[in-house]
């Protein structure tokens, strides 16, 4: 894939940080969600055991994926669902368009599906004359604003209610200046109801697909997936191939973890099982690879496919909270996005594994125990080894290594701090030094510890 429009997390994050009050608001809003998650998790006895169990089930799925996929296809087909296989985003988009064309549908409702964001389905359908209305409230907000979601669970978390009031005033004709959340939600409800009633096709995502039974589960708080699917003649569900779980009873593990991790709720308001089309309805499921089987073959990175898209790692990430989802310039932002995206395009997303302090909080909140921060570290090594690091950085690192590998050279400066002052980026006092822009430099002491030791202890 090409890397045109190269975007960089650090630059986009710096832009986001121009408005410090907004950064504070964004940080506190998401920290509130993290705190709710802590409270919900603490209320479950054996939370850590539950995480461990979920992780093991998903490990089992990844180790036997082809078997489970075949089992699922067979069971779903038996249930009357039409199963499609898509090797990549383009095939996925073509399959969806094909189904719509077959039914002569040019208007569709869609509930939340990060997979379709990953495949840029909306843009593709629009180019082909199909109108898509996102029915998740947050997604509808960003759709009206012509933006991608900034968070996979809370798509418009970067929008303030006053701004949404203005957006609705412009697009839905609500009174100017009305920013009452209840009022705005009601306005959206009326607006969306008309769409639900008039669209003949509905697309949903999939949270869990059960290999044993051929059914799939869709979790929403707004019931919008149900409303769309139940009213439509054609229901298309799109899922990444890693969304499988072996048996229905395993839902007891995942449904308890998902929403507690995501928003601190005990469970989503709607956890709907779809098993067979109702009489007269057509139900399709599109199983999408789009790089997943390649990813599965990478020993160090495969377990990121355990992800259940709860976004707990977003909410806890001190960098995400202070840089905003759009700074990641990818469909799935945050720490998990930073380890998934390089699989899709290593050059375009070469900045993302570096958009972290490796603090490790993400790995600790992850309900399926993905070693996110360790994978960030490992991606850095891969990116540099493949030649995607800047030449200046490589040269600096080589010099630094040479000095630090040779005690004679290290000590040769003779005077404390001299080498550091010349070679370590944060020790030069000028406006090109990123350290010094908003921080003072450490004051160099008269002597190094090594020099002090020589004088004060018998060597």
């Amino acid at each position: 894939m090409s890397s045109e429009n190269h975007k960089d997390h650090a630059a986009l994050a710096a832009k986001f940080n121009k408005d410090e009050a907004r950064v504070d608001w964004h940080d506190q809003t998401l920290w509130f969600v993290r705190a709710k998650r802590d409270k919900a998790a603490a209320a479950v006895p054996d939370w850590e055991l539950l995480r461990d169990t979920a992780s093991r089930i998903k490990e089992n799925v990844l180790s036997n994926l082809s078997e489970y996929l075949r089992q699922f296809e067979e069971a779903a087909t038996r249930n009357g669902i039409m199963v499609h296989w898509a090797a990549d985003a383009k095939e996925h988009n073509d399959i969806v368009l094909g189904i719509l064309r077959k039914h002569k549908v040019d208007r569709m409702v869609k509930s939340k599906s990060m997979l379709t964001e990953e495949c840029h389905l909306n843009e593709y359908l629009k180019e082909n004359g199909v109108e898509v209305i996102d029915t998740d409230l947050g997604e509808r907000v960003v759709q009206l604003a012509d933006e991608p979601p900034s968070h996979i669970v809370l798509p418009c978390i970067h929008w303030k209610k006053e701004e949404i009031g203005q957006l609705f005033h412009e697009h839905l004709g609500t009174p100017e200046g009305n920013a009452d959340p209840r009022f705005l939600t009601h306005a959206a409800r009326l607006h969306l109801r008309e769409k639900f009633l008039t669209r003949r096709a509905a697309l949903t995502g999939v949270n869990f697909a059960v290999a044993e039974t051929g059914e799939f589960v869709v979790c929403t708080n707004e019931g919008n997936a149900d409303m769309g699917a139940h009213l439509a003649d054609v229901h298309i569900a799109c899922m990444g191939i890693e969304k499988l779980i072996p048996q229905r009873r395993h839902l007891g593990v995942f449904l308890r973890l998902l929403t507690r991790s995501a928003t601190g709720q005990p469970i989503t308001t709607y956890s709907s099982h779809f098993k067979r089309p109702r009489p007269g309805q057509e139900m399709h499921i599109v199983l999408v690879d789009n790089g997943r089987s390649t990813h599965l073959g990478r020993k160090d990175f495969r377990n990121s496919l355990k992800c259940i898209r709860c976004a707990a790692c977003f909410n806890t990430c001190p960098v995400y909270r202070r840089s905003g989802g759009h700074s990641y310039h990818t469909a799935v932002a945050g720490p998990i996005g930073s380890i998934l995206s390089p699989n899709l395009d290593r050059k375009k997303y070469s900045d993302l594994p570096f958009a972290s302090t490796l603090c490790g909080s993400c790995s600790n909140v992850c309900p399926v125990k993905i070693d996110i921060h360790e994978q960030l570290y490992k991606w850095r090594q891969v990116i540099v080894q493949e030649g995607n690091a800047a030449a200046a950085k490589t040269a600096a690192m080589k010099t630094m290594t040479w000095v630090l590998s040779n005690p004679g050279v290290y000590h040769a400066s003779g005077k404390a701090g001299r080498w550091f002052m010349l070679n370590v980026p944060f020790t030069v006092k000028n406006k090109w030094n990123a350290w010094y822009l908003q921080r003072e430099l450490p004051e160099p002491p008269k002597q190094s510890f090594g020099q002090w030791y020589k004088k004060n202890r018998k060597v």
Partner: protein, 241 residues
Amino acid sequence: MRVGLFIPCYVDQFYPQVGIATLELLEKLGCTVVYPPDQTCCGQPMANSGFEHLTGECTNLFVKNFNEFDYIVSPSGSCVLHIKEHSHETAGIHNKIYELVEFLTDILNIDHLDASFPYRVGLHQSCHGQRGLHLAQMSELMAPPFSKPAQLLNMVKKIQLIDLDRKDECCGFGGTFCVAEEAVSVKMGKDRVADHAKHGAEIITGSDMSCLMHLEGILRRQKSPVTVKHIAEILNSNIES
């Protein structure tokens, strides 16, 4: 007990007082401490930037310098974690290297200290020490709380430890992250500093000088009266009033 003292490069160059406090403290507690003069760096700055493949010589040098000791102790959780995870297992280094705090609590098993420090102190839990070396329970996990640095600080007379709103949020240093992602790094640091200041800290302490160097840079730019001190300096203090 022969202890090899590992003083990270930037501590050697910028914060000799932290090395001195660590040395004096270990000596007070009865250890025979030796500082191998040819030591330089653990290799972490390169490795975390994606250049782990260049750090072989740094690691070899480290092994050469420290192989002979019963224990290796360092006042930096981050550097210790790096050595633990990246030194060749054959050298056995990873089994005998300790961050200072855990060496005091887990190997020396100290239960009292002759130290006094009459200030209000905020404890910054550095991530690599906490989440990597498990110096303290992590707020994300549903597990019983503990804190090895707090355990030691509570042995210091007259100290007042303050609480924080976010007890283990990262400060934003992150190695080369501090310059590569300057805006976010600084914002994270400012927010940490504000949390400590809000709760009346006079001193911010921790077991990683790199985090404290970053926070100090922000405090001094803000002309804040709050200062930083490495935990070794506090544990080695005898200030009555």
